[in-house]
């Protein structure tokens, strides 16, 4: 953010000092701020952001390690082999440890082989397939995560991902199976339909928030249910979304001309959707960090009252932000019917992505590239989780536990430091203070 953009945002500025004050507040919250200001205002995320900015990559790695350890304990406790061996623990304790090792190593080897590289395959081309699977799972998570992150930056909590994905998938799917257009055009029209559908569904939230002050958390939750029942109704009603000649609540398959082409040939499921996710990340980065609109977004997110005084139309920003946010979530919905499930969709097409996206956005600290890598991490966990379930019989839900623990630990660096007995960054001054206190005490006792 440069100073030159401030006049353009402060059109009706009544107080010359306010934009400057606003900007001063902005700068510490910027990513990679070397030294966060000590008395930054208590905005929604500034506390967390400061924590993360002052920490380092080590904390993130250790957080993942801690989560994996917790997952290992859970796996060991519930493994039938371990339970059998622990029955005679006192006579042959080594058996128990052997069983624990087998269960945990088996699980995590499967997680790795399912998400990054499978050493069991003969060629590199076959061995690398899990990584492409991870990226395939990551694609909708990145897109939807970006959407949630944009809303977060404006101070809105978009829990409506589920509904927005459903509506977007229905729009893109409908265009995808009912129109007969040539290849690239059909794909693009379906993609646009999905994005616009999602954006409009989310736009309702922004509009209600701006015009009536209705709390976006309530409205998004309610619209999730409305979308779910609306899509369920349309899927079981002939002539709307239901496939012809079928009684199942399922749509016809997407036509080939609307399906995202594979990126590396038919061996891999990875489609150009992933390229779209990268483009979306770049767009959001540009939007938030380089554009005037993004400045307004962040100003409203930091302090809506100050933003209003500075001449920003806060109500309009809420509407635009929800449109952009839900549009990105809609991209994930379009990806669902144009890449992930092209054989026709049911009312579960959202696959929980709307809620996963919230965790992705939180892990990525609502920063575009942070969300991108958080999405890839969660995609990898998802891909590996399926392999783990298939080969080791460990329920896929362990992935949810790992995901949530990673976010929790990363959000609380003091906890991670305490577990690993790392020095706290603020321990230096505190020790000095302590010395001062004891020093004065000594003087008093003398």
């Amino acid at each position: 953010m440069t100073d030159s953009q401030i006049p353009s945002t402060g059109e009706v500025s009544t107080n010359a000092q306010l934009p400057e004050a606003l900007d001063a507040d902005q700068i510490p919250a910027e990513e990679a701020a070397p030294t966060p200001a000590p008395d930054e205002p208590q905005s929604r995320f500034s506390g967390v952001l400061r924590e993360i900015a002052s920490g380092n990559a080590l904390i993130s790695v250790l957080a993942v390690v801690l989560a994996l350890v917790a997952g290992a304990i859970l796996i060991a406790l519930t493994d039938p082999g371990v339970r059998a061996a622990s029955g005679y623990f006192l006579s042959r304790p080594a058996d128990t440890f052997q069983a624990i090792w087998n269960a945990v190593s088996g699980a995590y080897v499967a997680l790795f082989q399912g998400s990054i590289y499978n050493f069991g395959r003969p060629t590199f081309a076959a061995g690398i397939k899990p990584l492409t699977e991870s990226l395939t799972f990551a694609t909708p998570l990145i897109a939807a995560g970006l959407g949630v992150a944009v809303a977060f930056r404006v101070g809105l909590f978009n829990i409506g991902g589920q509904g927005q994905i459903l509506i977007a998938a229905a729009c893109a799917g409908w265009v995808g199976f009912s129109f007969n257009l040539p290849f690239p055009l059909h794909l693009i029209v379906a993609l646009i339909a999905g994005t616009v559908g999602g954006a409009l569904w989310g736009g309702i939230v922004g509009l209600l928030r701006a015009r009536t002050g209705a709390h976006e958390v309530i409205v998004t939750i309610m619209l999730n249910y409305v979308a779910l029942y609306l899509i369920s109704f349309m899927l079981r009603t002939p002539g709307l979304l239901q496939a012809k000649g079928s009684n199942n609540p399922k749509s016809p398959p997407t036509r080939d001309s609307a399906i995202f082409p594979h990126l590396f040939g038919p061996t891999y499921n990875l489609s150009i959707g992933f390229i779209l996710a990268i483009l979306a990340t770049i767009y959001v980065w540009y939007l938030l960090n380089r554009s005037g609109l993004g400045f307004k977004f962040r100003a409203v997110g930091e302090n809506p009252s100050a933003a209003r005084v500075a001449g920003i139309n806060v109500k309009n920003i809420y509407v635009i932000a929800m449109l952009v946010s839900a549009g990105l979530v809609g991209l994930a919905g379009a990806n669902q019917v144009q890449a992930s499930i092209t054989t026709g969709f049911g009312s579960g097409i959202d696959a929980g992505i709307g809620f996963d996206a919230i965790t992705v956005a939180l892990l990525g600290r609502s920063r575009p590239w942070g969300v991108f890598f958080a999405g890839i991490l969660f995609g990898a966990l998802k891909a590996g989780g399926f392999t783990m379930q298939a080969s080791q019989n460990i329920p896929i839900e362990i992935v949810l536990v790992l995901q949530s623990l990673i976010v929790l630990f990363i959000a609380a660096p003091p906890l991670v430091r305490a577990v690993f007995r790392l020095p706290s960054p603020s321990s230096g001054p505190r020790r000095r203070k302590l010395a001062e206190i004891t020093g004065t005490k000594a003087v008093v006792t003398k």
């Binding site: 209705a214 409205v219 029942y229 536990v401």
Partner: protein
Amino acid sequence: MSTVTGDALAKTPSRAIAATTVVKSWKSPIALGIFAVLSIVLFGFYGRAGTSRFGISTTTDFFQIPAVAVPTRATGIVIPIVLAVIALYAAWLVYRGHKVRVWLIALFAILVLIVFLTWASAGQTIPVPGLLVGAVGLSVPLIFGALGGVISERVGVVNVAIEGQLLGGAFVSALIASVTHSAILGLIGAAVAGMLVSFVLAAFSIKYIVDQVIVGVVLNVLVTGLTSFLYSTVLSPNNETLNNPPRFDRLPIPGLSEIPIIGPVLFRQTIIVYCVYVAVAVVWYCLFHTRWGLRLRSSGEHPQAADTVGINVNRTRFWNVSLAGAIAGFGGAYFTLGSVGGFTKEMTAGAGFIALAAVIFGRWDPLKATLAALLFGFATNLQSVLSTIGSPVPSEFMLMLPYIVTIFAVAGLVGQSKPPAASGRPYIKS
């Protein structure tokens, strides 16, 4: 949508703005008007022939009241006209600078409900007591969750983790009640489980100053993952011994349970439902009429001021958030011990989020939040009752109805709801 008129009688200019400004809000008349027009179109023009009957009594009542029968088409014409009159009256009130009273809106809502029920049940009988009994039952976990949410947010910690607390309560209550064969112990276990979830919420948001919304969302995911994982690995292979809890039986209160309508609805329920009545009353009384409540609210409204007068804000927050979790967890037991018995994956199915909506809808007030939760429970049960008697509306639209009504209510009638001032903000003593 709103216009401001100043009052010339103001004595000092600075006070004039604060004290005598009247804000005309046209939202209520507009919302009422939309409903009135919709009901005229739906029930008047698309009215159905026949008579609608409302069953009032059950066989065990003191005295029997015959079923009330009303002509469907006539009702569908008369009531929408009354609705239109009320909407016009509301518009006139706003035009004259008065406020639209709550009782008027309540009357309007009841009339809409009556005309809708009449229309939907043409040629059929609606069992009113059955409709309400189920509604109270479905509201129970929502009310407990909403009470937990109200306490937590009033003390200054946003509680998005209600879903996790309910789910944790449901899981632990099923497990403990199955192992010990005691539903009461299961109930206590549910409260402890909810409290444990809250401990994490409190520890992370108060000690480690992590954003409360983040902790709440993540806790929901964590509890969902943990309970589903343990269900698949532990409960479901040993279903007979670990997931087969005893259920609470209905416990009619002698005398009271024989009053028509009120008896079966309120006093022929399980012990968990009776606990709801107590919990709502106690939370409401204690929150607004005791020292504990004052301290709690001051920690959530103005922690600095509370600290100045000697309240340990963070300790108050920690223990009250834990209490909130215990209450919500208690409600989770209803899913297992109060209704179906065994635990299943993600059995709360978003009830925690509905409870959260009830908290905001009820403006962080225990009684209003309870009413909001009852509304959700009623609407859900209305759908199932209407689908059994064969309603003309597709069931999906009936299921959608409570959520659409909520959106309208929040947008048109409630408007901007203000949370406790310091809710969501960590208190760092300087």
